[in-house]
Symmetry: C2
Subunit: 231 residues, 2 copies
Amino acid sequence: MREGQSCSSCRLATYCFPPGIDKSHLHLLSELVNQQTILHRNEYIYRAFETFRKIFIIRSGSVKTFKINSNGEKIITGFCYPGEILGFDAIATKTYQENALALDTVSVCELNFNELEKLSSKFPSYQHQLVKLMSEKLSSNFFLNLSSSAESKIAFFLLTISNKMKNYGTTGMNFNLSMTREDIARYLGLATETVSRILSKFQLNNILECSKKNIFLKDYSQLQILASQAG
Amino acid sequence: MREGQSCSSCRLATYCFPPGIDKSHLHLLSELVNQQTILHRNEYIYRAFETFRKIFIIRSGSVKTFKINSNGEKIITGFCYPGEILGFDAIATKTYQENALALDTVSVCELNFNELEKLSSKFPSYQHQLVKLMSEKLSSNFFLNLSSSAESKIAFFLLTISNKMKNYGTTGMNFNLSMTREDIARYLGLATETVSRILSKFQLNNILECSKKNIFLKDYSQLQILASQAG
DNA sequence: CGTAAGCTTGAACAGCGTCAACCCAGGTGG
DNA sequence: CCACCTGGGTTGACGCTGTTCAAGCTTACG
């Protein structure tokens, strides 16, 4: 019937639903999940205004989320990595509030939200875990210091990506920036040229190596200092 | 036993829990709520790192939420008005993630979260409404265009406050900026002087009148144009 | 092989931050 | 009751940081 392994043996299990779920009911989650959806670069996981039916958990790859504002400008709202959950913001309105686009080959678990809510109303551990995950998402917003310098913002950005890679089991020292410089710029409120210049500067100062999209962090602690610098 | 009116007769009922709750169970919510907590200017509703027990719904007044980062800088995360709910971001960690401070005289409803979760596990409409409200909060984040000009950011800010006042039943054309210019500046990633200068400019251009903290919007549509201007 | 998209680097400009001075209102204390 | 002080707000001058414009380079892709 269903391909892929069960939630209980998933390497990402510590990041999504399983940890809060009563062990004896965990198999119900596996039954809910369509585990092997693969998307390729530039394919949409969902689009803004589509009817909300599923939430998505990223298993591998990276995703960018964005809106188009009234001027037709692209507003990048975030970049998501394995273990992260997409679609929570659509529950209230029943339509997705933003676009989610695969930046490389992406594998996702799909959870039908109605089914999940039914489980939640039967089993308190499901309900609690759903609410907890939404709460985490809420508290993870608003970390970027708007008043800080471009250098500080980019350092912060790199550390954030590095941390997300660590969650996936890598060292987080060597990773791929799957998004374009322009995406990074818009996300941070900078110009593309500024992003490019500062990455070059970091390379010159032996903070990192950067060829094309590949990043290798050489001086993590210096990056931390830069990231936490006041505005 | 309990002062104040019940949830079913509350003027803010359309904004918080009641609208999604099964009518026959609405009285249970009223029993949960401690309705008459009053705080004065500069009193904390909660502080970062305190143990999470309650969520708070603002009935009147205004609240600022902020964190202190590793450099001791104050990061303003938002301003909250009647109908808005505080504390959702603390559910996952069981400690409040930010400080919530009354900017003027504030009246709040307090909901014990454990009790609320018990109700939720008994009644699906409670569960659904809780999840829905959290989803709304998630989708309301990330509207500010970081790339836009200082003028555009301040126009956007004024419109946001205006809308929040409308929800409270006023016209939203005449209101009090209960926070300081410095708070506004930090929230938008600007300097205090810039906020001051731009408010003066708006006044000069007949977009608004502004004496001290009192704002009167004279040209709402012009403000909308400014707010939506590209970066 | 040719085109387009993405990236880098340089030079010039300007928006906004910084510094400084000053004003005003409210609160405190003698 | 007045003098003082402090916090918040405004305005001006100046200069830096980051944007804009422009040109050239590289890589991806049809």
